[in-house]
């Protein structure tokens, strides 16, 4: 009888040697004359245990990890094909506490199904959301999304239903659905994981959006740094088109929806929705003025729904299970679940999808198991390079859009990057300005020039004597204020947040010139 073994094809798992593990299992099985079928699934997001190999047994899937090619012979000797005992045996995958305690709605299938198989998707409740949507009036679909409380998961947290309603009500001979897959924030990888591990759910979500607002064409604007996701999406689009889930007559409904992947070209700013639209039109990715809103005049001047990958990939479960099911998760005005991405200096990094309301401490100490270096946590950056640095004293803040706003932070796309006590926060503040200077689209002067001046001012603060420090700190705060108030989009408008939070919470790092910022010592080697 054929045995089924799962070895992830997720890019992160590959980066840790998953391909070599798959080859070793294949070779060893051939050697032992065993009939083994290898399925290349996505990752479950337990990255500290990747490459994680799973075996199908009568009791359920049994996990082994982290597996290296040199472990494979031992696994066969331990009869892992029947869930045999081995030091790498993690027990039933579903029972791993790190996974079991999560509430996976958007990521219900990631790491479980074969991302190349439409049949597997269908067997795991796939396309039930679309089936429900096709029986509804467009306005009822939009109402369901509104009622679910789903807010934009890209970072801005704008209610998705309101965006859809605006687009539905806009007149236009052609409308578009655009998926923002330009996931550029450091510390985030949930978009990549869903596109590689469960691409059909994104396709289904976009199709539902198309049916809801009357759009017949969709684009996935995907960052060039994600070639694995590109391959997964293109294979899935081809499969969905061949089976009539995309095309001129979606599921025999008479409605058309065509989908295409467009590759970005390495500009962070194109994650901003209006820059992204410019880029899709073949132009420089410069921010547009709003209004007009993209929902009224978006891509090629036509009404356009533009949502993040996770937002769109969450739509199918809302339509399948109903708005109240989703809305019942979460706290306050943050409804549902958020796929958090735990990264940086943390022992057990990975994807943690939980209802809003989990605290940072529960996330970092509970799921993360503390820092990888074993040193105390000093700062946590939440929400990417434009997110504030949160000091260890504020770790009890619940992860909720409003609670974070109250402490001057932002949840953003849910990326959480942990730093230990060797971090130099003046260097981090300088980097925030440097990054803004590199990635500014150049439209707004405070962002284009202010960011470069910001780097220089921070250098002067660190190098200067007490009087020079005080003078330049005033200049820096003033500059930050100008950037916040005088930039059209979040890049110039929020790059000051990490800078100001570093100044406010970690002032000591700006006081003593612990090291030259122009020639930084390697991280982790700072004296004293």
């Amino acid at each position: 009888m054929s045995m089924t073994v799962y070895v992830p094809r997720d890019a992160s798992a590959l980066s840790l040697g998953a391909d070599a593990v798959a080859k070793a299992i294949e070779a060893e099985a051939a050697c032992r004359n065993l009939d083994v079928r290898i399925v290349r699934n996505g990752s479950r997001g337990v990255y500290w245990l990747e490459p994680m190999v799973e075996v199908e047994t009568p009791a359920g899937r049994v996990a082994y990890g982290p597996v290296q090619p040199t472990d494979v012979m031992g696994l066969f000797d331990a009869d892992f094909l029947h869930g045999g005992v081995d030091v790498l045996n993690l027990g039933l995958t579903e029972e791993i506490p790190w996974l079991k305690s999560q509430q996976r709605l958007t990521f219900a299938r990631a790491g479980i199904v074969d991302p190349r198989s439409l049949d597997d998707y269908l067997a795991h409740d796939g396309y039930r959301g679309l089936a429900a949507a096709l029986k509804m009036e467009p306005s009822a679909i939009v109402q369901a999304v509104t009622d679910s409380g789903l807010r934009g998961r890209g970072g801005a947290a704008f209610p998705a239903g309101i965006k859809w309603k605006t687009c539905l009500d806009a007149a236009g001979d052609q409308k578009y659905i655009v998926c923002n897959a330009d996931e550029g924030d450091s510390g985030t990888f949930s978009d990549r994981m869903i596109m590689e591990g469960d691409p059909f759910v994104l396709i289904e979500g976009m199709t539902i959006a198309g049916v809801a607002v009357g759009a017949t064409r969709g684009y996935i604007y995907l960052r060039i740094e994600y070639p694995h996701a590109q391959r997964a999406l293109e294979a899935a689009i081809e499969a969905a088109t061949a089976r009539g889930y995309l095309g001129d007559n979606v599921c025999g409904s008479g409605k058309a929806f065509h989908l295409e992947v467009r590759m970005a070209a390495g500009a962070y700013i194109c994650g901003e929705e209006t820059s992204l639209l410019e880029s899709l039109e073949g132009k420089r990715g410069q921010v547009r003025f709003k209004p007009p809103l993209p929902a009224i005049q978006g891509l090629f001047g036509k009404p356009t729904v533009i949502n993040n990958v996770i937002t769109l990939a969450t739509v199918p479960i809302i339509l399948d299970r109903g708005a109240p099911f989703y809305r019942d998760y979460g706290m306050g005005k943050s409804r549902g679940t958020l796929p958090l991405q735990l990264a940086g200096n943390v022992k057990q990094p990975g994807l943690v999808e939980c209802a809003f309301g989990l605290t940072l401490r529960e996330l970092i100490e509970g799921y993360g198991g503390g820092t990888a270096s074993g040193r105390p946590v000093r700062a946590v950056q939440v929400g990417g390079p434009l997110g504030a640095y949160i000091p260890a004293t504020q770790l009890d803040t619940p992860i909720d859009y409003e609670a974070f706003a109250a402490i001057g932070g932002m949840v953003g796309h849910g990326g959480v990057v942990v730093f230990d006590d060797t971090v130099d926060m003046a260097a981090q503040a300088r980097f925030a300005m440097e990054f803004c200077a590199i990635e500014s689209c150049g439209k707004c002067t405070p962002c284009r020039i202010g960011s470069t001046r910001g780097v220089e001012v921070i250098d002067r603060i660190v190098a200067g004597d007490a009087a020079e420090k005080a003078r330049n700190e005033a200049v820096l705060r003033d500059l930050c204020q100008t950037m916040v108030a005088g930039s059209l989009c979040a890049l110039g408008g929020m790059a000051p947040f990490p800078v100001l939070s570093a100044l406010d919470h970690f002032h000591e790092d700006f006081e003593g010139a612990k090291r030259s910022l122009l020639n930084p010592l390697p991280f982790g080697e700072r004296a004293g």
Binding site: S15, G187, F189, H228, P349, F419, Q428, C441, F523
Partner: protein, 165 residues
């Protein structure tokens, strides 16, 4: 009716470059907003977007040369000069910083003898900075062409380099 096009107004262009550009533009120019896919196609075929290709791309796409040049120069990924045989994209973003990316960056620059945006003298490697590869759970990360690597240390980099050579 489309206006007549004359090749005479174009500056001289290498035959191989011309063929590569026309091959891509013929496939894409009638679809909306395809300048980025065209540039990707040209860079895929030639390894870079040559300066001399720009007038031809502009003509085929019905854009001005300034438009095309503006787009090529805006995006970090497009290059106007050939790269080395393989390109190392090293992540400089925060998650990787928290796990020692600055030290790794210094090491790699020293080991290869190049700074960012430069190519080794033997033409084997080009080093480029990148801001996040989505491999933040396995920081520090780098990508070699489209092969992603995680938890890279100076030692593992050296071992990999030796193995690859």
């Amino acid at each position: 009716m489309k206006p007549a096009k004359t090749i005479a107004s174009l500056p001289p262009i290498d035959d191989a470059i011309r063929a590569a550009v026309l091959d891509v533009t013929a496939r894409l120019k009638d679809q909306p907003g395809t300048l980025l896919p065209v540039l990707h196609g040209v860079q895929n075929a030639l390894g870079y977007v040559p300066e001399e290709a720009i007038p031809l791309i502009a003509r085929e796409m019905n854009l001005s040369r300034a438009d095309v040049h503006g787009v090529v120069s805006f995006y970090h990924f497009f290059r106007m000069h050939p790269a080395g045989k393989r390109t190392i994209y090293l992540c400089r973003a925060e998650s990787c910083q928290s796990m020692g990316a600055a030290k790794l960056e210094q090491h790699i620059k020293q080991r290869l003898g190049v700074d960012f945006h430069e190519t080794t003298t033997d033409g084997a490697w080009t080093l480029e900075p990148v801001y996040c590869l989505g491999n933040c759970a396995c920081s520090p990360a780098m990508m070699v062409d489209d092969e992603l690597k995680g938890r890279v240390t100076p030692e593992s980099f050296d071992a990999w380099l030796l193995e690859t050579k």
